[in-house]
Amino acid sequence: MLLVACTLVSVVEVDGLTMRYGDLLAVDRVSFTAEAGQITAVLGPNGAGKTSTIEACEGYRRPTTGTVRVLGLDPAAQQVRLSERMGVMLQEGGVYPSARVLDTVKHYCALYGRGADPAWLVESVGLAERRNATWRRLSGGEKQRLSLALALAARPDVAFLDEPTSGVDINGRDTIRRIVRELADGGCAVVLATHELDEAERVADRVIIFDHGQVIADGTLAELRRGHDEIRFRSDVALDAVGLAASIEHPVRSLGDGEFVVDASPDPRLVAQLTGWLADHGHPLADLRGGAQRLEDVFRRLTASTEAPSDGDT
């Protein structure tokens, strides 16, 4: 019998990274890796340290302590060499406002010199009809797609994409997801920072959650959800959650706006108890569903915060 070993190659290696700005400790002894052929999503609430970490990986910032290696290179000391094989998508901007779409992509293809075809890139991100528009005349979503095309101009082995679908419409999102998946399938290590948990849930092979400058979770979605099943439903805002919890002998949380969560597996007998209690007390029932937690719930549980992660970060 032939045994095939499938090994993941670490392209990004962060070990004990600390970033300090004066008295502010933005990143505190962070360690993680990102592998070739995978999409690694970096999530975190406001000020969690994810942008500082990614900018250290891109070579924009020098670590206070700890080491960062990307494609075996020190990004801060060897940024020019690294950039030959690195795609970067900034959260916003990065393009001359008066420059036209196709001219900009041509410019970046020439800078990288790796044989990417500008016309094909413009076509692939869905901007062929806007090829002669200047950057300042593009919509927010079109600007994001142009920025992605510039990252692809490197034909990268590693790509750092900051909020790639921010402000992009549904069709544009599908296009971006397809391109990012194809990029990873081609062997590129994609590191994607996003505050859109739904986006991470759709595309990420692996999720790293930052909070207060530290990595508090690192794994596949299945790993992060494991052991955290729930039953979720809608009913009266005034429902007596304490009384319900006592009746079904499981914790019940109110998420507000008439939405409730029972922290338990969706066992049929438990569901029957729940619906019976609601019927006995004259409460309506809507949107009943059970199963694994959504990434948003995983995120809230881990960060113990009711605030969704925002794009402003240190």
Binding site: Y60, V80, E84, L90, G94, S98, L111
Partner: protein, 241 residues
């Protein structure tokens, strides 16, 4: 083409395709040269105003490109994170700066190639001009003005930088001996004007090309001092992000 060559071509294209930049670098110098040569209203103290104006307008052209055009463009590129993004390409920050310097030189060559023939066409006939010395003055002036422009661009927000560059341009134009002779300024302003890089450049260009400088010795020292100090200030103040 190398990444440096690619970037130089883009930088020059951006200047030449931008109407405001063209007005600043070519339109205003050519208009001032032609208008005040034909309409003799300035107290130039020369038989033909073109003899006074031509060196002054060459100095103005150098200032327009190396300070205002470079400074405003770089300021907006910094605000729009163009510098940050380009810094993460194989171009790197070092070649990005080199590309900006080369593009300034190329635009200045285009300016000189247009302004000098226009001045000759308007009757300028410098006697025994020392073009090599004038070139040295232009190089020093370019360094001095670029340092000032980048000092502002590297620290101020885009719109504030734009206002500051335009304001300083106007002051340096009016007090710089480019179109108005130093002698016509009030005594207190004269003292200040002679210490400005615009006044020093116009004066040494006038001395190099027509032997009609006001105080060329002092002006060379002032110009060299600006060329030494302003890049150091820019190096200290400039931020890519």
């Amino acid at each position: 083409m190398s990444s440096l060559g690619t970037q130089v071509r883009t930088e020059v294209q951006l200047v030449l395709r931008n109407g405001e930049q063209l007005l600043l670098t070519l339109g205003i110098p050519v208009m001032l040269l032609v208008f005040f040569s034909v309409v003799d209203v300035l107290p130039t103290g020369t038989d033909d105003p073109i003899d006074f104006l031509a060196p002054g307008i060459l100095a103005l052209a150098v200032m327009s490109t190396s300070m205002v055009s470079l400074g405003i463009g770089t300021g907006f590129e910094r605000t729009y994170q163009v510098l940050k993004r380009l810094g993460a390409t194989p171009l790197g920050r070092g070649r990005l700066i080199a590309a900006k310097i080369l593009s300034v030189v190329l635009v200045e060559l285009i300016q000189l190639a247009i302004l000098i023939p226009v001045a000759f066409a308007l009757g300028w006939a410098p006697t025994d001009p020392n073009w090599l010395l004038a070139l040295v003055a232009i190089v020093l002036g370019t360094i001095a003005f670029a340092g000032i422009g980048l000092s502002l661009a590297g620290r101020l927000r885009g719109e504030i930088n734009l206002a500051a560059q335009n304001g300083i341009y106007l002051v340096l134009l009016l007090l710089g001996g480019m179109v108005i002779p130093f002698d016509e300024l009030p005594a207190a302003l004269q003292a200040v004007a002679r210490l400005l890089p615009s006044g020093a450049l116009a004066d040494v260009l006038r001395e190099s090309l027509t032997q009609a400088g006001d105080r060329p010795g002092t002006s060379w020292i002032v110009l060299a001092a600006w060329a030494l100090v302003s890049p150091l200030v820019a190096r200290r103040l400039f931020r890519f992000e």
